[in-house]
């Protein structure tokens, strides 16, 4: 038996499909009311989550700065907070832009080659942003923000005591960071997503490269 004989069997299946009854309008209407479970809709959901988080933190930092929650007296002390606020706003804008790109109604109209490339890009973008965000939050909250309290401590306590209070937590954080890095917990791939997401991304990349091969 060769492939051409099987082609005949396939045509017979095609004829059988033609004889099936039409699908009723109500059934089609029910189908389009369902929530999508596609890869793209899952990515869109992750964007919405990212947008909400970035928006929430941006508002928190606006409140912290406007209300001067830490009683800062120098403009320099506000810099870490301003830096974090700027980053959250940048992330928010980028995610809104990326989501708008995915909402394009013609995404599925592209050829599988372009479609896969677009989905892979959409998949990687928020994960990279999330990684950058985590690094930024880590650096700002553990290093820069504690430093902003140094001037106030210097006003009330001696220099060595103040420095110890600020830098001892930094030393502990640095030690934890180095230990985590040595134990492999800061592997970039682990940050890029949970195992399933990473597997899905690798599968998409494999499909795209198979098509280009």
């Amino acid at each position: 038996m060769n492939l051409d004989e099987l082609k005949g069997a396939w045509n017979a299946y095609g004829d059988r499909v033609k004889t099936t009854a039409d699908i009723e309008e109500g059934a089609i209407a029910n189908m389009v009311r369902e929530k999508s479970g596609s890869v793209v809709s899952r990515i869109q959901k992750s964007y919405i989550y990212g947008i909400c988080m970035a928006g929430f933190y941006a508002l928190c930092f606006v409140a912290l700065i406007l209300g001067n929650a830490f009683d800062y007296t120098y403009f320099l002390q506000f810099i870490p907070l301003l830096l974090m606020l700027t980053c959250f706003i940048v992330v928010l804008v980028l995610l809104l832009y990326a989501r708008a790109g995915l909402k394009r109604t013609d995404l599925y109209l592209q050829s599988p080659q372009i479609y896969l490339d677009e989905v892979i890009k959409a998949y990687c973008k928020p994960q990279r942003l999330l990684f950058s965000l985590v690094v930024l939050i880590f650096v700002s909250s553990s290093i820069l923000i504690p430093l902003t309290f140094l001037p106030r401590k210097l006003e009330h306590e001696d220099v060595w005591h103040s420095l110890a209070q600020v830098f001892l937590p930094l030393v502990i954080i640095a030690a934890v960071y180095l230990a985590a890095k040595r134990m492999g917990y800061l592997n970039k791939k682990q940050w890029y997503g949970f195992k399933t997401n990473l597997e899905e991304l690798n599968e998409l990349k494999r499909l795209a490269s198979e098509l280009k091969d």
């Binding site: 005949g8 389009v32 479970g37 109604t105 599925y108 080659q113 599968e203």
Partner: protein, 167 residues
């Protein structure tokens, strides 16, 4: 009320969606789930369709894009749709007694292909030209030809092995 043109179009070309579902999912429930996802994506893309491309090309692209990236669902996530069996039924590839053996063999052979290979062999079985296959898949005509030859060799190998096993 739904757009009449859309409903007519789905019914006119439902064979494309049935065939894609047959090739990409083995389980009946997952086939229905994929069918509904494809109809949903067609509906979402319908406003962008301006009759510039052939309707069938448009449907193949959307159906294949949806099917190619639906790989995670069948492995890990149970089907969630609730459309009843009475509303539509996807004809089974191997249910016709006249060509049962051929269809069963074809089905088993296609199951062993990758997602991309399934898309290309579907278009080949639908007697699309290399030019059309290239246009739908976004690859060159030459690349389409090369891929089809590779898949044919692979399929024939699988069929031979299956036939030997049956003897």
């Amino acid at each position: 009320m739904m757009d009449k043109v859309f409903i007519e179009m789905i019914n006119e070309h439902r064979g494309i969606i049935y065939k894609v579902c047959q090739l990409y999912c083995q389980d009946r429930e997952y086939q229905k789930d994929l069918f509904q996802e494809i109809v949903l994506q067609l509906w979402k893309s319908f406003p962008s369709f301006r009759n510039e491309a052939k309707r069938s090309t448009w449907m193949y692209r959307i159906a294949l894009n949806t099917a190619i990236t639906s790989f995670r669902k069948e492995k890990k996530i149970p089907p969630q749709r609730t459309i009843s069996s009475a509303e539509f039924e996807i004809p089974d590839l191997g249910s016709n007694p006249d060509d049962h053996e051929h269809m069963g063999l074809l089905k088993r052979a296609i199951e062993r292909l990758s997602q991309i290979e399934k898309a290309i062999i579907l278009l080949y079985l639908e007697e699309k030209s290399y030019q059309e296959i290239g246009e739908i898949m976004g690859i060159t005509k030459t690349n389409a030809g090369v891929k089809i030859n590779r898949i044919k060799i692979k399929l024939e190998g699988i069929i031979k092995t299956a036939e030997n096993e049956l003897r």
